[in-house]
C-alpha cells in the first residue's frame, strides 16, 4: 500500500507534468488520424510501471524514450518503411529542452481558465471545496443538495480539470519543436507507404 502511494507520488511529480508535452510532440510526429491519445496513454501506463522509480528523475526524457520505442514497435508491426519517420523518431530520443519548469503564476492562470469551462454546479462545488475550504456537508447545506450529489459534482469537476491539465502543452515545447512542424507534410506522405 505504501509502495502504491510512493509510486503515485513519484508519478505525479516526475512523469505527469510532461504528459502535455508528450502529446504535443507526438501530434507533430505522427500522421493525421493517428491515435495519439492511445499511444500517450500506453506510454504513461508503461512509465508508471518503471522498475526503479528512484532512478527516473528526468521525466520528460524518460517518457519520450518510451514513446519512441512504442512507435518503433508500431512501425515494425505495420511494416512501415519510411526512413523519414524513423529519422524523426530520433527527435523523441534527443530531447534537450529543459525539463518543464512551469511557474506557479502560469499554472494559476491555466487553472483559472480551466475553471471557467466547468459546468456551473460543478464549478461552484469545486471552488467552495477547494478555495473556500468548505466541507462537503457545508456545501450540501449551502447549495441545498445531498452530500452524495455534491460529491458527484466535485468528482466531475476534478475529472474535467484533470483532463484539461493533461491537454496542456507548455509554451517552451511549442517553441523548441516548431521547426519539426514544418516538416510534417513530408513525413506524413512517407508514413503511408507499406510493404
Amino acid at each position: 500500500m505504501d509502495d502504491v502511494a510512493a509510486r503515485l507520488a513519484w508519478f505525479k511529480a516526475v512523469i505527469l507534468p510532461h504528459e502535455g508535452a508528450l502529446k504535443a510532440r507526438l501530434r507533430r510526429l505522427t500522421p493525421p488520424g493517428f491515435d495519439v491519445d492511445n499511444l500517450a496513454a500506453e506510454t504513461l501506463a508503461r512509465a508508471y510501471g518503471a522498475h526503479e522509480i528512484e532512478r527516473v528523475t528526468a521525466g520528460r526524457s524518460y517518457l519520450f524514450a518510451i514513446a519512441r520505442n512504442l512507435l518503433i514497435d508500431t512501425a515494425r508491426r505495420d511494416a512501415i518503411v519510411s526512413l523519414d519517420f524513423v529519422a524523426d523518431l530520433d527527435l523523441l530520443r534527443a530531447d534537450h529542452s529543459t525539463e518543464a519548469a512551469i511557474t506557479a503564476r502560469s499554472e494559476l492562470r491555466r487553472l483559472q481558465a480551466i475553471v471557467d469551462t466547468l459546468p456551473p454546479q460543478s464549478r461552484r462545488v469545486f471552488l467552495l471545496r477547494r478555495v473556500q475550504e468548505f466541507s462537503l456537508a457545508e456545501i450540501a447545506e449551502e447549495m441545498s443538495l445531498s452530500v452524495s450529489t455534491v460529491e458527484k459534482h466535485l468528482a466531475k469537476a476534478v475529472l474535467l480539470v484533470a483532463k484539461a491539465l493533461a491537454e496542456h502543452e507548455d509554451i517552451e515545447v511549442e517553441r523548441s519543436t516548431g521547426r519539426f512542424g514544418r516538416q510534417a507534410g513530408d513525413r506524413r506522405s512517407g508514413l503511408g507507404v507499406r510493404r
Partner: protein
C-alpha cells in the same frame, strides 16, 4: 483497501487516478487568486471560450466516456483522501465533517481528516482541537495526536499538543487511550470519562480528575477566551503568545513565577499587560517588530 487493489490491477487505472490527484493538488493554487463562484456568462466570452474548449471536449469527452474515466472518478470519491483543515495564528475555525461530526480548531492548528467506510481517522497535526463526534458504532472515530492514540464513540473532547505532552480533556462520553505497545482495543486501555482528562506521552497515560473550573478553563478558547487562575506569568505569556504573531517575552526570569488570574479575550494581550502593570512591578517595553518585553520595574 479496495481502492488500492483497483489501482494495482491496471497501470491505466493508476495513471487516471494520479491525474485526478494531481489536479486536486494543483487546484489549491487557486486560493492565491480565486475565480468568482459564478462564471461570467456574457455571450462574447462564451463564444471566445467555446473554441478553446472544443478540442479539449473532443478529447476529454472520449476519455470521460471511457470506463476508466468514470471508475476513476468513483474511486477517487471513495478513496478517503485526507482533508487538511488548518488555522493561522490568531484564527479559530469550526468545521462540519461529512459524517456530522464537528471539529473546532484553535489558533495555529491543523487536522487531517479521512472518513473511511470502516473508521474515521483524524490526525491532529499541530495545535489544539475540540471534537464533537457524531455517533456511529460501525465507524469508530480515531484520533492521532503526537504520540497519543485515542478512540471515541459519540463524545466530545479537547486535544492539545503541548511541547512535551498531549493533553486530553473529555467533556462528554468516553475516550479510550492506547497504552504503549497496545492497541486501542486492548481491554486494559485506559478509559477517560467525561469531566476527566489525561496527559499522554509515548504511550504513558496519566489520567486526572478535573474540577469544573479546570474543565471550563481548558475549553474557554472556544469562546475566544483565556482564563487564568493562579498560573505563573510564564504560563500566561505562553497562552497569549499562541495567538500572537510577535511574542511577549520575559526579559527577567525573576518574573516567571508571579501568579496571575483573570479572564481575557485571546486578542486582548494589551489589557492583560495593563492589568499586569497595575498589579505588579512589571513594565512592558514594546519593540519595533511588535513584540513585547516584560521587565521588573525598578
Amino acid at each position: 483497501m479496495a481502492i488500492h487493489d483497483w489501482i494495482a490491477a491496471d497501470a491505466r487505472h493508476a495513471v487516471a487516478y494520479a491525474r485526478m490527484e494531481a489536479a486536486w493538488e494543483a487546484s489549491a493554487r487557486l486560493r492565491a487568486d480565486p475565480p468568482p463562484l459564478e462564471a461570467k456568462s456574457s455571450a462574447a466570452e462564451a463564444s471566445a471560450r467555446t473554441s478553446a474548449i472544443s478540442r479539449r471536449q473532443a478529447v476529454g469527452g472520449l476519455m470521460a466516456a471511457s470506463a476508466v474515466g468514470v471508475a476513476t472518478a468513483a474511486a477517487w470519491r471513495y478513496a478517503g483522501r485526507p482533508q487538511l483543515y488548518s488555522t493561522r495564528v490568531g484564527e479559530r475555525r469550526s468545521v462540519l465533517l461529512a459524517d456530522g461530526s464537528r471539529v473546532e480548531l484553535n489558533t495555529a492548528s491543523a487536522v487531517e481528516v479521512a472518513l473511511g467506510r470502516r473508521e474515521r481517522r483524524v490526525r491532529l497535526v499541530r495545535g489544539e482541537a475540540l471534537f464533537q463526534v457524531a455517533h456511529d458504532k460501525a465507524r469508530p472515530f480515531l484520533v492521532d495526536a503526537g504520540t497519543a492514540r485515542l478512540r471515541a464513540v459519540g463524545t466530545a473532547f479537547n486535544v492539545r499538543i503541548r511541547e512535551n505532552v498531549v493533553e486530553l480533556t473529555v467533556t462528554e462520553g468516553i475516550v479510550a487511550v492506547a497504552r504503549r505497545g497496545e492497541s486501542l482495543a486492548a481491554p486494559r486501555a485506559p478509559h477517560i470519562l467525561a469531566g476527566a482528562g489525561a496527559v499522554i506521552r509515548s504511550g504513558a497515560v496519566a489520567p486526572m480528575v478535573l474540577a469544573s473550573q479546570e474543565l471550563q478553563q481548558r475549553t474557554a478558547w472556544r469562546d475566544g477566551v483565556i482564563e487564568l487562575d493562579g498560573e505563573t506569568l510564564a504560563q500566561a505569556v505562553d497562552e497569549f503568545n499562541r495567538y500572537r504573531a510577535q511574542p511577549i517575552v520575559l526579559g527577567d526570569e525573576r518574573l516567571a513565577n508571579i501568579r496571575v488570574g483573570g479572564r481575557f479575550e485571546v486578542g486582548e494581550a494589551d489589557k492583560f499587560l495593563l492589568a499586569l502593570g497595575s498589579s505588579f512591578a512589571v513594565e512592558s517595553i514594546r519593540a519595533a517588530d511588535g513584540s513585547v518585553m516584560l521587565v521588573a520595574r525598578p
